[in-house]
């Protein structure tokens, strides 16, 4: 089936969903220190409305934070301490290898829609949003985007992405892991069907301060080839990334083995992620983005 390319922001994120996303925020299971004062609670004490503690006044302290009620009762100066609110770094990594261009609905388009929705949530909540598209030898970035008004820039950037080549996952993760600026939340959107495996790539970014979410996006036909539009009969399968050809006669037995293989792959990825405190989630590209955002990701703790 011919896939019509996405051209406009509306196609990435419609206004209805946008309105619903205004009410939610990205939630990190860790509290990171940010660069700029933001809307996110920080480890640091600072200026905000949220009370944290008292401490005795010392010379040079800002008198505005002296608690005068206590001074009236105790005749001693105490300073009120508030939680500092800082910004959050949200990194969205999109697999732009050719394997993402698969199925109906297309897995790559779905990944872009999810990326747009997540980026929008981040922008609305004044977080620093960074987008990374990666494939073999090609890493495209859009970093430190802040503010709701940048949503269209993010959309334009996403619309320009085109899947091609092999994934180059390990290399891409190494680059992201070493060049990160500030701690934050990283959401990885990929099918994780890497011939070389996902372990080394994930090891590059895991344990480096990111609160990581791995969203494994699979087209329905990849998840189950017996579905409509899937693989049937005697076919010559051509790998979209490597061009390798495989003769296949689809039989019920082969389909069963395929599903076993996929389950084993997903299970291995889930196990690896669990061991490294990464949240893993398999999403079919037929799942509505709204459902994913408002239900699944909230349930898994990425959004609130």
């Amino acid at each position: 089936m011919e896939v019509r390319p996405l051209r406009k922001l509306d196609e990435l994120l419609d206004s209805k969903l946008m309105a619903k996303l205004d009410a939610i925020d990205v939630m990190s299971r860790k509290i990171f220190s940010g660069k700029l004062q933001g809307e996110r609670r920080s480890k640091r004490r600072g200026q905000s409305v949220e009370f944290a503690d008292f401490r005795p006044y010392s010379h040079g302290d800002d008198l505005r934070f002296v608690d005068w009620n206590i001074y009236g009762r105790l005749d001693r100066l105490f300073l009120k301490m508030f939680l500092e609110e800082e910004d959050l770094s949200l990194v969205i990594a999109i697999d732009t290898s050719a394997s993402m261009r698969a199925g109906n609905p297309d897995a790559f388009d779905y990944a872009r829609r999810v990326a747009m929705a997540l980026a929008y949530v981040g922008l609305v909540n004044q977080h620093r949003v960074s987008l990374v598209g990666f494939s073999q030898g090609r890493i495209e970035r859009a970093t430190n985007i802040r503010g709701r008004r940048k949503a269209s820039d993010v959309a334009q950037w996403l619309l320009k992405l085109e899947p091609s080549g092999v994934s180059g996952f390990e290399e891409a993760m190494r680059v992201i892991g070493t060049s990160r600026s500030g701690r934050g939340v990283m959401v990885m959107l990929s099918d994780f069907l890497f011939p070389e495996g996902f372990e080394k790539g994930l090891a590059m970014v895991a344990g480096r301060g990111f609160d990581m979410f791995a969203l494994q996006i699979l087209a329905p036909q990849v998840a189950d080839p017996s579905r409509e539009g899937g693989i049937t009969g005697d076919v010559l399968l051509v790998d979209s990334e490597t061009g390798l050809e495989t003769e296949v006669t689809v039989t019920p037995e082969l389909l069963r083995l395929y599903r076993d293989r996929l389950d084993r792959l997903c299970g291995a990825l889930r196990g690896y992620c669990t061991r490294r405190d990464i949240v893993h989630m398999v999403v079919e590209s037929s799942t509505p983005v709204e459902t994913l955002m408002l239900e699944y990701l909230r349930r898994r703790g990425l959004l609130r």
């Binding site: 010559l236 390798l244 039989t251 395929y258 293989r261 996929l262």
Partner: protein, 711 residues
């Protein structure tokens, strides 16, 4: 279609490999099938199948599909191959259709012929067995050979289920098939119908008229005759070579006809038959029932001491391999008079040196009072497949009331003794009076003439009891006297000595007698014969070669018994207690009183037919076809009353009672396998198979195209 089929036939090889044919026949045990060209089919099948599978791997043009990743597919394939090394030869509709198509075409090339697919052409002789065993009724109730004979069923009464009826239906269907042309043949057939039992009859000469053949088959009626195929075969052979005298050369060149035998295979003369070269016999086996019991023999006699009674003896045979039980009843003139108190056991038949010997049980009924003539029937009560042999009839003559003439006025001892016996009419005359009677020719009104110490000059035909005198008979000579003789019994089992032993007899004076070999010596002494008998067709004699007054015999009990036995023996000499029993196929021949007329014969089924009686009283009719009691009524000259002569016709051929159909007929030189009549229509199968092969090719092509299009 016929034309195309004929062309195909012409192009195909016609060689027959008998051994391959035999092995191929094993593939279809239930469908009798032959192969015209099995080699061609086998070679094609073997040579094409393997390359076909190889080509299938090469032929497959797969649809290219670009997928996100073949990672999972290649790993799954590796799993599949690891689990099933031969998975490349996996289920594929295309491959299956191709294999089926090739098999069907190879099958068709072998030109199979199967029962049930019709064929026509050539000349066919339909032989329909109408012997007694073909009256067996086919049905569930009668096919169970293992059960005892206690079950009854109405099925046995249904004539439409007899083997003959089934054979006729099957024969008519065969006629339709032979003369209907057929799907793959344009050849016409000539068919002849012959029916046979003990003898054969042509019912329809060679014709292609279906109506004629059908009516000829319909007209065949059942008989209770034995089965003899030889005459039918000879008849059909003779007809097939001589039916066109003007075209003799053509007729001789023509292939022998196919003989289509509709029978249960119980042929009495099978061991004497042989098939001729080129002769083709199709044995349409009729029926499957095997359970049958038969009354194989019946006889009756009047006990010597009670002439008004009748004692009946019967034999029941079991011609199956399973023991059976049966209850018999005895009916006199249709009225049941006795019954076996409990079912009698009849052992199973046995095979001895290849010969089947039926199980047999003798049954003796208690004597019943029956002074008059009567028809006596012994019948098995329980139903079995063949009812006609379940009963046997015998006709008994009335008890004879004897008339005895005593010749010799002086013999008071003998006369007094005779007067004491149960004799209907007795007279005592002198020798002179007796000779006068001889001259007047009226001696034949006496059953027994007792010559008491006197003898006429010449003896007319009759029955004589000579005591102390040697009558003038050829071969019998008196040559003096013996004295002080001790008699010795030679034939103590003779009826004359029933309860009449001679152990204590002493004869002081006897006549020395010399007799030729026609005389039988029953008692003799060291000096010669003392008691002799002669049984000639015209003359019966009991001779006691001494005067009882010259012995101590009158003082012994055996004296009276001997005289009573002698009178009884002579009085009934030459008279059978029972009338002669005929078998189906015999002719009725009766000698009625001279001048009898208006003969009417009543058949066992109640039908009547008139019988011509010659002026001398002889009448004949036949042959009789059914078993049972025949009644010949006639008007005796000078009397108004009608007399009736009873004639019993029984099946006595044990082969007819053995009704289990033969699976095959062994003609010595060859064996013909029986084919059930339900499926006994042989015809070419290969055109159908070829059509199936072509259809499979088309289906395969359509399926392939559909796959390409969908892919």
């Amino acid at each position: 279609m016929n034309h195309v089929a004929s062309l195909l036939v012409a192009t195909m090889s016609t060689s027959i490999d008998a051994s391959l044919n035999q092995s191929l026949a094993l593939l279809s045990p239930t469908l009798a099938m032959t192969w015209v060209t099995p080699v061609a089919g086998a070679i094609l099948g073997a040579s094409v199948l393997a390359p076909l599978i190889a080509l299938w791997f090469l032929k497959l043009r797969r649809k290219r599909r670009v997928v996100s990743s073949t990672l999972l597919w290649s790993r799954s394939l590796a799993d599949l191959r690891a689990n099933a090394p031969f998975q490349r030869l996996r289920m594929s509709w295309l491959l299956l259709l191709q294999i089926l198509a090739v098999c069907a075409i190879a099958f068709a090339l072998a030109q199979p012929e199967a029962e049930g697919f019709g064929s026509s052409g050539g000349r066919h002789v339909i032989l329909i067995d109408r012997s007694a065993s073909m009256n067996a009724i086919e049905g569930d109730a009668t096919t169970d050979a293992s059960s005892d004979a206690s079950t009854t069923s109405n099925a046995t009464e249904d004539p439409t289920r007899s083997r003959l009826a089934l054979a006729k239906v099957a024969a008519k269907a065969r006629v339709d098939e032979l003369l209907g042309g057929g799907w793959f043949s344009a050849r016409a057939s000539d068919v002849m119908v012959v029916t046979f039992g003990a003898r054969a009859e042509i019912r329809a000469p060679f014709t292609d008229s279906v109506a004629t053949l059908h009516s000829a088959i319909d007209a065949i009626t059942p008989t209770d005759e034995a089965t003899a195929l030889a005459e039918a075969l000879e008849l059909s052979r003779a007809f097939t070579t001589n039916d066109r005298p003007d075209e003799t050369a053509t007729a001789l060149r023509e292939a022998p006809p196919t003989i289509e035998l509709f029978s249960d295979g119980r042929l009495n003369d099978l061991d004497k038959l042989a098939m001729r070269e080129g002769e083709d016999i199709v044995y349409h086996r009729v029926g499957s029932a095997s359970r049958n019991l038969a009354v194989a023999a019946i006889s009756a006699e009047r006990p010597p001491d009670s002439q008004n009674q009748i004692q009946v003896f019967a034999a029941v045979v079991n011609p199956t391999m399973v023991p059976a039980r049966a209850t018999l009843h005895l009916a006199v003139d249709g009225t049941v008079r006795a019954m076996t108190p409990a079912p009698i056991e009849i052992p199973a038949g046995i095979e001895l040196d290849g010969e089947f010997i039926a199980g047999r049980t003798q049954v003796v009924f208690r004597p019943i009072e029956q002074p008059n003539n009567a028809s006596i029937e012994v019948a098995i009560i329980e139903d079995d497949a063949l009812r006609v042999d379940d009963s046997a009839v015998v006709v008994v003559a009335p008890a004879k009331q004897l008339a005895v003439l005593h010749v010799g006025a002086g013999g008071f001892l003998v006369r007094t003794l005779l007067e004491g016996l149960p004799i209907a009419r007795f007279a005592s005359v002198t020798l002179g009076e007796y000779e006068a009677l001889i001259e007047s020719g009226t001696t034949n009104t006496w059953d027994v003439v007792v010559l008491d110490g006197v003898a006429p000059k010449a003896l007319p035909s009759g029955r004589y009891f000579a005591i102390g005198v040697v009558p003038p008979i050829d071969g019998l000579t008196a040559f003096g006297n013996h004295s002080d003789v001790y008699p010795r019994l030679v034939r103590d089992e003779h009826p004359l000595f029933r309860q009449a032993g001679l152990d204590e007899l002493f004869v002081s004076k006897s006549i020395a007698v010399q007799a030729d070999r026609r005389f039988q010596t029953l008692a003799d002494s060291a000096q010669g014969g003392l008691i002799l008998t002669l049984d000639r067709s015209d003359l019966h004699l009991v001779l006691v070669a001494f005067d009882p007054l010259d012995s101590n015999w009158p003082f012994q009990r055996s004296f009276v018994n001997f005289f009573a036995n002698a009178i009884d023996y002579l009085g009934r000499a030459g008279d059978a207690v029972t009338g002669r029993t005929l078998t189906p196929g015999d002719a009725i021949a009766a000698r009625l009183p001279a001048g009898s007329r208006d003969g009417v014969l009543t058949l066992p089924d109640g039908a009547t037919t008139s019988v011509t009686i010659a002026p001398d009283g002889s009448a004949s009719w036949g042959p009789v076809l059914r078993a049972g009691l025949y009644r010949l009524g006639y008007l005796v000259a000078g009397r108004d009353a009608r007399e009736t002569l009873l004639i019993a016709v029984n099946i006595t051929d044990p082969a007819e009672s053995r009704i289990e159909p033969r699976a095959e007929l062994d003609f010595g030189t060859s064996t013909v396998q029986g084919v059930d009549v339900a499926v006994s229509r042989r015809g070419a199968l290969w055109p159908w198979v070829l059509a199936l092969g072509l259809l499979l090719v088309l289906t395969e092509w359509w399926y392939y195209q559909r796959q390409i299009r969908l892919g």
